[in-house]
């Protein structure tokens, strides 16, 4: 391949490339009613959109009936302002709703009420930590956060489609980042941080499966050192953080290959296919969009008082970064564990409700970061969808600290609680997991073992200390792992040396 010019730079096989990423995140606000109508916006806890009767949460306003008008939900404004304040944005005391026009069956009025020229929030940022142990901090700019209404959903059937408008009009904020992100890892860290913030400040339910937090990624590549941006593509609606990272990686690679093969990148919308791990173009025919934005004549400018905004600022809870620092300082948790626990409002609230005593924090954290995270990942469930409650973890922490259960046994309890729920003391009793601390009752068992295995005893006595493990293992096996391992080891050594 010959070298050629791209964006005023020489490009060849040895060129180092850089990916430029900007993210647009749609966050559904957890209000009771919709943004512009009094229809129900939010399902009861644990409810699923899929279980609702289509179009049952749809009023004439949501369906865009002739003669209907929008009326703005105060809570939605408050939540949007909270989001802006928590991401260090400037709150515009005057903002304006605008109509964005396009025809699509899930858009009942033929336009979406959004904001263009005067968005509610501008010029914020958030800090992300990347690299080994999160050692590198990067500040990512937030261009704007504006309010808008969600669209409905199209269901595809054989030969036709069906429109369900229950989601139409659910309040959204769109958080638009600067093109400051350079790697898929950074994009993932940004998303996790933003997710942590909106769930922590209570404006979003954070259910990824239900589409509460959705991401579009703008991706382009350029030779490293180039100051111009390359032509970007937009990857739409990827709703897991891991898939966003993978989609960005494969899309950047695709763009590089296209360029190196002498091709051109077209500004277009692409979808990510997780199974094939590749992106593909959404439209064959590239249709020129013209959204014809103009200020919505039904909605005068939104004017906010500085006092009101200040009141919201004062009411903001501790943010994830502050939580993380406090967990480290107050509980002595590791950086990794405290970051993870503060990464979602739900998890942080759960942790804090369980760690009611300072010394509970470590055992609770270990169980949440280890066992619970693993169970959640394997099952694809959200914490709220499980039978876990903080009290169970306080109880387990107390038992671990009293050495009444082993850490291994505690993990086993968590596994059962996760599926079936229940009360920790009862479960420990039922499963017979109470740790045996008084070893007098098992002395006969130990003596029996020593008598039955003279060869191993001889080996131990000749200095092969590894054999100790064999004896301890046998006792654990016979007692179902209930024996306090420290005490057992001590006793075993004593008996073997006798």
């Amino acid at each position: 391949m010959n070298a050629f010019q791209l964006y005023g730079m020489n490009v060849g096989p040895d060129t180092e490339w850089e990916t430029v990423i900007g993210l647009e995140v749609h966050v559904q606000l957890a209000t009771e009613s919709k943004i512009f109508s009094q229809a129900r916006a939010r399902l009861s806890a644990g409810g699923s959109v899929a279980d609702e009767m289509p179009n049952a949460n749809t009023t004439p306003v949501c369906a865009g009936h002739p003669g209907t008008l929008p009326s703005l939900n105060q809570k939605a404004v408050e939540y949007a302002v909270r989001t802006g304040l928590a991401t260090q944005c400037r709150i515009n005391l005057k903002s304006q709703f605008a109509r964005k026009h396009y025809f699509y069956p899930d858009l009942p009025k033929g336009y979406q009420i959004s904001q263009l020229e005067l968005p509610l929030c501008e010029a914020g940022h958030l800090n992300i930590e990347v690299g080994a142990e999160g050692s590198v901090m990067r500040r990512i700019g937030i261009t704007r956060i504006h309010m808008e209404e969600d669209a409905g959903k199209n269901l595809h059937r054989d030969g036709f489609s069906l429109v369900n408008l229950n989601r139409a009009g659910v309040p959204l904020v769109e958080v638009v980042s600067e093109p400051d992100l350079r790697t898929a890892e950074e994009a993932g860290a940004y998303l996790r941080k933003l997710y942590g913030i909106v769930t922590c400040i209570g404006v979003c339910d954070g259910n990824l499966q239900e589409g509460n937090f959705r991401c579009d990624a703008n991706v382009s590549v350029r030779p490293k050192g180039c100051t111009r941006f390359g032509t970007r593509t937009e990857i739409k609606n990827v709703n897991s953080f891991r898939f966003v990272e993978k989609a960005i990686e494969v899309e950047a690679e695709r763009q590089k290959q296209v360029i190196l093969m002498g091709g051109e990148i077209h500004q277009e919308t692409r979808l990510y296919d997780a199974q094939k791990n590749q992106t593909f173009s959404m439209r064959s025919k590239e249709e020129a969009q013209d959204y014809r934005y103009f200020p919505d004549p039904d909605l005068p400018p939104l004017l906010l008082g500085q006092d009101w905004v200040d009141g919201i600022r004062r009411s903001l809870p501790e943010l994830p970064d502050q939580k993380r620092d406090r967990y480290r300082a107050e509980f002595g948790l590791s950086k990794y564990d405290s970051s993870l626990l503060s990464s979602s409002g739900e998890l942080a609230r759960f942790f804090e409700a369980a760690a009611i005593k300072v010394d509970y924090a470590k055992p609770v954290s270990n169980l949440l970061v280890g066992e619970v995270t693993r169970l959640l990942n394997d099952s694809g469930l959200e914490l709220a969808q499980t039978k876990l409650v903080p009290k169970q973890f306080s109880d387990l922490a107390a038992l671990i600290l009293e050495q009444a259960v082993s850490v291994t046994a505690a993990k086993q309890v968590v596994g059962v609680l996760f599926k079936d729920g229940g009360d920790v003391p009862t479960l420990v009793e039922r499963l017979g997991l109470k740790q045996l601390n008084d070893l007098r009752s098992i002395e006969p068992l130990i003596e029996q073992l020593i008598a039955a295995n003279p060869k191993q005893v001889a080996e131990y006595r000749s200095g092969k200390e590894k054999v100790l493990g064999f004896f301890v293992g046998q006792v654990m096996k016979a007692t179902g792992g209930k024996v306090n391992p420290g005490s057992l080891q001590e006793l075993m050594i004593k008996k073997l040396k006798e």
Partner: protein, 496 residues
């Protein structure tokens, strides 16, 4: 006297009280008149619904109210109204005079209509109009043109043509119209009745099918200024469902009208009446001009102070209005996609692609509506927005400022409603721009959101009515109705 020959609500209530008339007899008489004189003023007659309402009221009058009309609790008790078919009534077909809404049955009632029915009014039917209220002659209806009440070769004016023609021809006692650039005032003037548009934001637009949202207002069309005031005060008030309604006190305007009329034409004394020099330009029909000049002279002779004023941006009014109105309209009419409501033709059912489907559905718009959608889409499109929509919105501000300066010097402004009297069917329908120019006197007040009224003052040689247009400052309905009442008194009573 024919049973439907009442001119004032108070006359009807007196007849109820005297036992010579019941709501049900009154409603019947209007349906008889409606059927005997085909003006095509109604799109949908609500005979069963109206008779059921009337029956209930007749029963209540006897038993609940002991034969005494409850004027305070229900000021419109038993008053039969026509509702322009742009306003929704729960369960009653509402078409907006468009094929695209031919079968639309709204699941809710417009706030304004609800307030009138709560006050005892009876809905006789849904009135014909220009499709989506786009027109000045009522020739743009998918249900055919409305006929002028007295001259069958003439248009009644539009877009509230059915509402105007029916009141003039006594097919309903009063009616509701809607006005975006003159759609109440022009047909009221052409048909010789009172038509009033309140300050923008006075009356909730919830349930008014939108044409141009920042201009649309509902208003009464009546046989007297007093009744216009009464209907207006009942409909006015803040509505949580319409973010553009105003939180402003609503006075008893009908009582102000009665007080003024009791006092007599001496009320003109000291009233400062502005006459915009820009309004008396070439193109005004001489008979219209004479009628206006003559009434101004009469006002002066009764003590009014006539002040020549200037509204320097008047010449840009029609251009400004059409850019703003069609832009908003093109957006408002995007919702007619045949998915959630509306008629779905066989062609649309068979459409293979979404694009094709939309086009088949939207083929049901009439040609004037399509013209305005195209014009509006163009004015909002990328590259043209600043030159058209934004610029027009800036000129609109200047026009409003013109009025604000003028109202420093005068209490009300007068002008013709239209440069001509009712023109002939087909006379302007081939030339949209000429048609648009008939709104030249009504448009400026619409752009500025001001309250205004058309009061019949004379007739031309052919017997066609001429109206006087009065404009007051924002929220000064009291002043507007007072001036309207005095003009009415000056020309000798109510309508001709």
């Amino acid at each position: 006297m024919a049973m439907n020959n009442f001119k004032k609500i108070s006359e009807i209530h007196e007849a109820f009280d005297s036992g010579t008339l019941t709501p049900i007899e009154l409603v019947h008489s209007y349906f008889v008149e409606m059927k005997s004189n085909p003006l095509n003023a109604f799109i949908t007659e609500c005979q069963d619904r109206a008779l059921a309402q009337a029956e209930q009221l007749t029963h209540d009058l006897k038993s609940k109210y002991q034969g005494k009309t409850p004027r305070v609790a229900k000021p419109l008790f038993g008053i039969p109204l026509g509702i322009k078919d742009v306003l929704t009534v729960d369960g009653v077909r509402t078409t907006c005079a468009s094929k695209i809404l031919e079968d639309y049955i709204p699941p809710y009632t417009a706030t304004a209509v609800q307030k009138l029915e709560n006050a005892g009014a009876i809905t006789l039917g849904k009135m014909n109009m220009d499709e989506f209220a786009m027109g000045s002659s009522n020739e743009n209806s998918a249900f055919g043109p409305v006929i002028h009440p007295t001259h069958s070769d003439r248009v009644p004016g539009g877009s509230s043509g059915g509402s105007a023609s029916a009141v003039a021809a006594k097919q309903c006692f009063a009616s509701l119209g809607t006005d975006t650039g003159g759609s109440i005032r022009l047909p009221a003037s052409f048909c010789g009745i009172v038509g009033m548009k309140p300050t923008y934001g006075r009356i909730s637009r919830y349930g008014q099918i939108a044409f141009a949202s920042s201009l649309d207002q509902i208003g009464p069309m009546t046989q007297s200024v007093e009744d216009a005031a009464l209907l207006c005060q009942i409909m006015s008030g803040e509505d949580p469902l319409d973010s553009t309604t105003l939180n402003a006190p609503v006075d008893d305007w009908s009582e102000s009208v009665r007080a003024e009329q009791r006092r007599g034409v001496s009320g003109f004394s000291g009233l400062r009446v502005g006459v915009p020099q820009e309004y008396f330009i070439e193109g005004i029909h001489p008979e219209v001009k004479n009628a206006i000049d003559s009434i101004i002279q009469k006002m002066k002779s009764q003590g009014a102070e006539i002040v020549s004023i200037s509204l320097p941006h008047t010449q840009y009014a029609v251009a400004t209005y059409y850019v703003v109105a069609v832009s908003e309209a093109s957006s408002n009419l995007s919702r007619y996609d045949g998915v959630k409501f509306g008629t779905r033709s066989a062609a649309a059912r068979e459409a293979k692609s979404l694009e094709d489907f939309y086009k088949k559905i939207r083929a049901n718009f009439g040609s004037e509506v399509k013209r305005r959608i195209i014009l509006g889409t163009f004015a909002l499109s990328s590259g043209y927005y600043d030159a058209y929509y934004r610029r027009a919105s800036q000129v609109r501000r200047l026009m409003r400022n013109d009025f604000e300066s003028a109202f420093q010097k005068v209490d009300v402004i007068v002008s013709p409603v239209c440069p001509t009297t009712a023109f002939k069917l087909g006379e302007k329908s081939k030339n949209p721009l000429q048609m648009y120019l008939s709104d030249i006197f009504t448009i400026p007040a619409s752009l500025a959101g001001l309250p205004c009224i058309s009061v019949p003052i004379a007739k031309d040689q052919e017997g066609l009515p001429i109206g006087l247009h009065l404009i007051a400052p924002r929220l000064q309905e009291t002043l507007l109705f007072k001036a309207g009442a005095l003009v009415e008194l000056l020309v000798g009573g109510h309508t001709s």
